[in-house]
Amino acid sequence: MTDSLRIADRDLGSRLILGSGGFANHELLAQACRAAEAELCTVALRRLPDPAHPQGSILDVLDEAGVDVLPNTAGCFTARDAVATAQLAREAFGTHWIKLEVIGDDRTLLPDAVELLAAAEELVDDGFTVLPYTTDDPVLARRLEDVGCVAVMPLGSPIGSGMGICNPYNLSIIIERAGVPVILDAGVGTASDAALAMELGCDAVLCASAISRAHDPAAMATAVKLSVQAGRLARGAGRIPRRRYAQASTPADGMPAFDVDVEGAAR
Protein backbone atom coordinates (compact mmCIF):
# COMPACT_ATOMS: atom_id res chain seq x y z
CA MET A 1 0.00 0.00 0.00
CA THR A 2 1.32 3.41 -0.88
CA ASP A 3 -0.53 5.15 1.94
CA SER A 4 2.55 5.38 4.11
CA LEU A 5 2.98 7.69 7.05
CA ARG A 6 5.97 9.98 7.02
CA ILE A 7 7.37 10.93 10.40
CA ALA A 8 10.54 12.97 10.29
CA ASP A 9 12.70 11.19 7.71
CA ARG A 10 10.98 7.85 7.90
CA ASP A 11 8.10 6.26 6.01
CA LEU A 12 5.99 3.82 7.96
CA GLY A 13 3.79 1.34 6.14
CA SER A 14 1.83 0.55 9.28
CA ARG A 15 -0.25 3.11 11.14
CA LEU A 16 -0.40 0.99 14.26
CA ILE A 17 2.43 1.43 16.74
CA LEU A 18 2.63 -1.26 19.37
CA GLY A 19 3.31 -0.59 23.02
CA SER A 20 5.21 -3.45 24.61
CA GLY A 21 4.03 -2.91 28.17
CA GLY A 22 1.74 -5.32 29.93
CA PHE A 23 2.30 -8.56 28.07
CA ALA A 24 2.43 -11.53 30.41
CA ASN A 25 5.51 -12.87 28.63
CA HIS A 26 7.72 -12.38 25.60
CA GLU A 27 5.94 -15.08 23.63
CA LEU A 28 2.64 -13.17 23.79
CA LEU A 29 4.48 -10.03 22.73
CA ALA A 30 5.97 -11.88 19.79
CA GLN A 31 2.55 -13.13 18.73
CA ALA A 32 1.08 -9.66 19.01
CA CYS A 33 3.91 -8.19 16.92
CA ARG A 34 3.18 -10.63 14.15
CA ALA A 35 -0.57 -10.08 14.34
CA ALA A 36 -0.34 -6.30 14.55
CA GLU A 37 2.09 -6.02 11.64
CA ALA A 38 3.50 -2.96 13.38
CA GLU A 39 6.85 -1.49 12.40
CA LEU A 40 7.55 0.27 15.67
CA CYS A 41 7.21 -0.94 19.23
CA THR A 42 7.93 1.01 22.38
CA VAL A 43 10.41 -0.17 24.98
CA ALA A 44 11.33 1.30 28.33
CA LEU A 45 14.59 1.40 30.26
CA ARG A 46 15.01 0.06 33.77
CA ARG A 47 17.87 -0.90 36.04
CA LEU A 48 19.53 -4.23 35.50
CA PRO A 49 18.80 -6.96 36.27
CA ASP A 50 15.14 -7.06 35.28
CA PRO A 51 13.60 -9.60 37.63
CA ALA A 52 10.39 -9.80 35.60
CA HIS A 53 11.95 -11.04 32.41
CA PRO A 54 15.14 -12.89 33.11
CA GLN A 55 14.74 -14.97 30.00
CA GLY A 56 16.29 -12.78 27.37
CA SER A 57 16.12 -9.36 25.88
CA ILE A 58 12.96 -7.87 24.48
CA LEU A 59 15.22 -6.61 21.71
CA ASP A 60 15.67 -10.11 20.40
CA VAL A 61 11.89 -10.58 20.36
CA LEU A 62 11.37 -7.41 18.40
CA ASP A 63 14.24 -8.17 16.05
CA GLU A 64 12.83 -11.54 15.21
CA ALA A 65 9.43 -9.96 14.56
CA GLY A 66 11.03 -7.34 12.32
CA VAL A 67 9.81 -4.50 14.51
CA ASP A 68 11.96 -1.46 15.27
CA VAL A 69 12.42 -0.06 18.74
CA LEU A 70 10.82 3.20 19.80
CA PRO A 71 12.31 3.93 23.23
CA ASN A 72 10.27 5.88 25.73
CA THR A 73 10.87 7.75 28.96
CA ALA A 74 8.06 6.09 30.89
CA GLY A 75 8.12 6.78 34.58
CA CYS A 76 9.83 10.16 34.46
CA PHE A 77 8.27 12.99 36.46
CA THR A 78 10.68 15.78 35.54
CA ALA A 79 12.26 17.19 32.43
CA ARG A 80 15.62 16.43 33.99
CA ASP A 81 14.91 12.71 34.35
CA ALA A 82 13.27 12.47 30.96
CA VAL A 83 16.25 14.05 29.22
CA ALA A 84 18.69 11.78 31.00
CA THR A 85 16.57 8.73 30.20
CA ALA A 86 16.35 9.73 26.55
CA GLN A 87 20.12 10.07 26.40
CA LEU A 88 20.55 6.60 27.90
CA ALA A 89 18.05 5.26 25.39
CA ARG A 90 19.98 6.79 22.51
CA GLU A 91 23.07 5.06 23.75
CA ALA A 92 21.33 1.76 24.44
CA PHE A 93 19.37 1.46 21.20
CA GLY A 94 21.36 3.54 18.75
CA THR A 95 18.37 5.64 17.79
CA HIS A 96 17.68 9.31 18.30
CA TRP A 97 13.94 8.72 18.20
CA ILE A 98 12.30 9.07 21.56
CA LYS A 99 8.73 8.79 22.71
CA LEU A 100 8.82 11.42 25.39
CA GLU A 101 6.76 10.87 28.52
CA VAL A 102 6.84 13.20 31.49
CA ILE A 103 4.18 12.31 33.98
CA GLY A 104 2.59 14.61 36.53
CA ASP A 105 0.72 12.18 38.67
CA ASP A 106 1.13 8.53 39.52
CA ARG A 107 -2.58 7.72 39.69
CA THR A 108 -3.66 9.23 36.40
CA LEU A 109 -0.26 9.04 34.68
CA LEU A 110 -1.29 12.20 32.88
CA PRO A 111 1.43 14.31 31.30
CA ASP A 112 2.81 17.36 33.07
CA ALA A 113 2.48 20.12 30.51
CA VAL A 114 5.25 22.32 31.81
CA GLU A 115 7.90 19.66 32.30
CA LEU A 116 6.95 17.98 29.04
CA LEU A 117 7.45 21.12 27.01
CA ALA A 118 10.75 21.87 28.71
CA ALA A 119 12.02 18.35 28.06
CA ALA A 120 10.87 18.41 24.45
CA GLU A 121 12.70 21.63 23.78
CA GLU A 122 15.90 20.39 25.38
CA LEU A 123 15.82 17.07 23.52
CA VAL A 124 15.15 18.69 20.17
CA ASP A 125 18.13 20.94 20.80
CA ASP A 126 20.19 17.86 21.60
CA GLY A 127 19.34 16.34 18.22
CA PHE A 128 16.58 13.97 19.19
CA THR A 129 13.57 13.13 17.04
CA VAL A 130 10.90 13.73 19.65
CA LEU A 131 7.40 12.23 19.75
CA PRO A 132 5.78 13.54 22.93
CA TYR A 133 2.96 11.83 24.80
CA THR A 134 0.72 14.76 25.61
CA THR A 135 -2.70 15.70 26.91
CA ASP A 136 -5.52 16.49 24.52
CA ASP A 137 -4.86 20.22 24.99
CA PRO A 138 -4.66 21.81 21.53
CA VAL A 139 -2.52 24.69 22.76
CA LEU A 140 0.06 22.39 24.30
CA ALA A 141 0.10 20.27 21.14
CA ARG A 142 0.82 23.38 19.15
CA ARG A 143 3.63 24.44 21.41
CA LEU A 144 5.21 21.02 21.22
CA GLU A 145 5.13 21.28 17.46
CA ASP A 146 6.56 24.77 17.67
CA VAL A 147 9.62 23.61 19.60
CA GLY A 148 10.34 21.02 16.95
CA CYS A 149 8.59 17.78 17.84
CA VAL A 150 8.12 15.63 14.74
CA ALA A 151 4.71 14.36 15.83
CA VAL A 152 2.33 14.82 18.74
CA MET A 153 0.81 11.94 20.66
CA PRO A 154 -2.28 13.10 22.51
CA LEU A 155 -4.08 10.74 24.82
CA GLY A 156 -7.66 9.64 24.39
CA SER A 157 -7.93 8.81 28.09
CA PRO A 158 -5.47 7.74 30.79
CA ILE A 159 -2.95 4.99 30.14
CA GLY A 160 -4.53 1.60 30.59
CA SER A 161 -7.95 3.03 31.36
CA GLY A 162 -9.58 1.64 28.23
CA MET A 163 -12.02 4.54 28.19
CA GLY A 164 -11.35 5.35 24.55
CA ILE A 165 -11.46 8.95 23.40
CA CYS A 166 -13.02 10.96 26.21
CA ASN A 167 -12.99 14.23 24.31
CA PRO A 168 -13.23 13.77 20.54
CA TYR A 169 -13.69 17.50 20.21
CA ASN A 170 -10.26 18.37 21.55
CA LEU A 171 -8.66 15.62 19.50
CA SER A 172 -10.24 16.93 16.33
CA ILE A 173 -9.05 20.46 17.06
CA ILE A 174 -5.51 19.19 17.52
CA ILE A 175 -5.78 17.38 14.19
CA GLU A 176 -7.18 20.38 12.33
CA ARG A 177 -4.38 22.62 13.48
CA ALA A 178 -1.40 20.28 13.48
CA GLY A 179 1.38 20.54 10.95
CA VAL A 180 2.92 17.25 12.10
CA PRO A 181 1.42 13.76 12.37
CA VAL A 182 -1.01 13.20 15.23
CA ILE A 183 -0.81 9.78 16.86
CA LEU A 184 -3.42 8.74 19.38
CA ASP A 185 -1.59 7.48 22.43
CA ALA A 186 -3.28 5.94 25.45
CA GLY A 187 -6.88 5.16 26.12
CA VAL A 188 -7.73 2.70 23.39
CA GLY A 189 -9.82 -0.02 24.97
CA THR A 190 -10.96 -1.96 21.96
CA ALA A 191 -10.94 -1.94 18.17
CA SER A 192 -13.67 0.62 17.57
CA ASP A 193 -11.75 3.22 19.56
CA ALA A 194 -8.90 2.93 17.09
CA ALA A 195 -11.27 3.18 14.12
CA LEU A 196 -12.82 6.28 15.58
CA ALA A 197 -9.41 7.88 16.13
CA MET A 198 -8.47 7.34 12.52
CA GLU A 199 -11.84 8.61 11.30
CA LEU A 200 -11.31 11.76 13.31
CA GLY A 201 -8.11 12.18 11.34
CA CYS A 202 -5.35 10.75 13.46
CA ASP A 203 -2.39 9.66 11.39
CA ALA A 204 -1.68 6.61 13.52
CA VAL A 205 -2.60 4.91 16.77
CA LEU A 206 -0.35 3.61 19.52
CA CYS A 207 -1.85 0.73 21.42
CA ALA A 208 -0.42 -1.11 24.41
CA SER A 209 -2.73 -2.27 27.20
CA ALA A 210 -5.76 -2.84 24.98
CA ILE A 211 -3.75 -5.53 23.25
CA SER A 212 -1.31 -6.71 25.88
CA ARG A 213 -3.92 -7.13 28.62
CA ALA A 214 -6.74 -8.48 26.46
CA HIS A 215 -7.70 -12.04 27.15
CA ASP A 216 -6.34 -12.99 23.74
CA PRO A 217 -3.63 -10.46 22.84
CA ALA A 218 -2.95 -11.76 19.34
CA ALA A 219 -6.63 -11.66 18.40
CA MET A 220 -6.94 -8.14 19.73
CA ALA A 221 -3.78 -7.13 17.86
CA THR A 222 -5.38 -8.31 14.63
CA ALA A 223 -8.60 -6.53 15.51
CA VAL A 224 -6.86 -3.22 16.20
CA LYS A 225 -4.78 -3.54 13.05
CA LEU A 226 -7.90 -4.06 10.93
CA SER A 227 -9.66 -1.28 12.73
CA VAL A 228 -6.87 1.21 12.09
CA GLN A 229 -6.97 0.29 8.42
CA ALA A 230 -10.77 0.57 8.40
CA GLY A 231 -10.77 3.96 10.05
CA ARG A 232 -8.10 5.27 7.71
CA LEU A 233 -10.01 4.06 4.66
CA ALA A 234 -13.30 5.41 5.96
CA ARG A 235 -11.76 8.82 6.56
CA GLY A 236 -10.62 8.89 2.96
CA ALA A 237 -13.85 7.46 1.57
CA GLY A 238 -15.88 10.52 2.55
CA ARG A 239 -18.57 9.48 4.98
CA ILE A 240 -22.21 10.47 4.64
CA PRO A 241 -23.36 13.40 6.75
CA ARG A 242 -25.38 12.88 9.90
CA ARG A 243 -29.05 13.78 9.44
CA ARG A 244 -31.84 14.04 11.96
CA TYR A 245 -34.37 12.42 9.68
CA ALA A 246 -34.18 9.38 7.49
CA GLN A 247 -33.10 9.31 3.89
CA ALA A 248 -34.68 6.42 2.08
CA SER A 249 -32.28 3.98 0.51
CA THR A 250 -35.14 2.64 -1.60
CA PRO A 251 -37.07 4.93 -3.95
CA ALA A 252 -40.69 5.62 -3.02
CA ASP A 253 -41.83 5.69 -6.63
CA GLY A 254 -43.17 2.57 -8.29
CA MET A 255 -44.63 0.94 -5.18
CA PRO A 256 -47.17 -1.67 -6.20
CA ALA A 257 -50.70 -1.47 -4.74
CA PHE A 258 -52.55 -4.49 -3.46
CA ASP A 259 -55.75 -3.29 -1.91
CA VAL A 260 -58.40 -4.25 -4.42
CA ASP A 261 -61.36 -2.79 -2.61
CA VAL A 262 -59.95 0.64 -2.11
CA GLU A 263 -58.56 0.99 -5.60
CA GLY A 264 -61.68 -0.56 -7.08
CA ALA A 265 -63.89 1.88 -5.24
CA ALA A 266 -61.79 4.74 -6.49
CA ARG A 267 -62.30 3.82 -10.11
Binding site: V43, A44, R47, L48, D50
Partner: protein, 68 residues
Amino acid sequence: MNVTINGEPRRIDPGATVASVVSMLDVAPGARGVAVALDGEVVTRSRWPETELRDGCMVEVVAAIQGG
Protein backbone atom coordinates in the same frame (compact mmCIF):
# COMPACT_ATOMS: atom_id res chain seq x y z
CA MET B 1 35.65 3.01 47.94
CA ASN B 2 31.92 3.63 48.31
CA VAL B 3 29.72 4.03 45.26
CA THR B 4 26.01 3.69 44.48
CA ILE B 5 25.11 1.22 41.78
CA ASN B 6 21.50 1.21 40.65
CA GLY B 7 20.51 2.78 43.92
CA GLU B 8 22.35 0.33 46.14
CA PRO B 9 25.43 1.37 48.17
CA ARG B 10 28.38 -0.81 47.27
CA ARG B 11 32.01 -1.04 48.29
CA ILE B 12 34.32 -1.57 45.37
CA ASP B 13 38.05 -1.57 44.83
CA PRO B 14 39.76 1.58 43.69
CA GLY B 15 40.40 1.50 39.97
CA ALA B 16 37.12 -0.14 39.15
CA THR B 17 35.73 0.93 35.81
CA VAL B 18 32.28 1.14 34.35
CA ALA B 19 33.11 -2.01 32.42
CA SER B 20 33.87 -3.87 35.59
CA VAL B 21 30.66 -2.70 37.23
CA VAL B 22 28.63 -3.83 34.23
CA SER B 23 30.20 -7.26 34.32
CA MET B 24 29.45 -7.45 38.06
CA LEU B 25 25.78 -7.28 37.12
CA ASP B 26 26.07 -10.39 34.98
CA VAL B 27 25.71 -8.46 31.78
CA ALA B 28 27.30 -10.33 28.92
CA PRO B 29 29.98 -8.27 27.15
CA GLY B 30 28.00 -7.95 23.94
CA ALA B 31 24.60 -7.63 25.61
CA ARG B 32 22.25 -5.44 23.60
CA GLY B 33 20.28 -2.52 24.79
CA VAL B 34 22.39 -1.72 27.82
CA ALA B 35 23.45 1.79 28.75
CA VAL B 36 25.24 3.40 31.63
CA ALA B 37 25.04 6.79 33.31
CA LEU B 38 27.74 7.97 35.66
CA ASP B 39 26.59 10.78 37.92
CA GLY B 40 23.73 11.49 35.55
CA GLU B 41 25.82 11.57 32.37
CA VAL B 42 25.78 8.86 29.74
CA VAL B 43 29.01 6.93 29.31
CA THR B 44 29.17 5.55 25.78
CA ARG B 45 29.95 1.87 25.57
CA SER B 46 33.33 2.36 23.90
CA ARG B 47 34.48 4.30 26.96
CA TRP B 48 33.33 1.79 29.59
CA PRO B 49 36.73 0.15 29.95
CA GLU B 50 38.61 3.38 30.42
CA THR B 51 36.11 5.18 32.65
CA GLU B 52 37.08 4.78 36.27
CA LEU B 53 34.69 5.28 39.15
CA ARG B 54 35.35 7.81 41.85
CA ASP B 55 34.49 7.54 45.49
CA GLY B 56 30.89 8.60 46.09
CA CYS B 57 29.85 8.35 42.47
CA MET B 58 26.47 7.12 41.26
CA VAL B 59 26.21 4.56 38.50
CA GLU B 60 23.07 3.57 36.69
CA VAL B 61 23.11 0.51 34.47
CA VAL B 62 19.91 0.09 32.54
CA ALA B 63 18.49 -2.11 29.83
CA ALA B 64 15.40 -2.48 27.72
CA ILE B 65 12.23 -3.80 29.27
CA GLN B 66 8.64 -4.01 28.12
CA GLY B 67 6.97 -0.70 28.62
CA GLY B 68 4.82 2.06 27.20
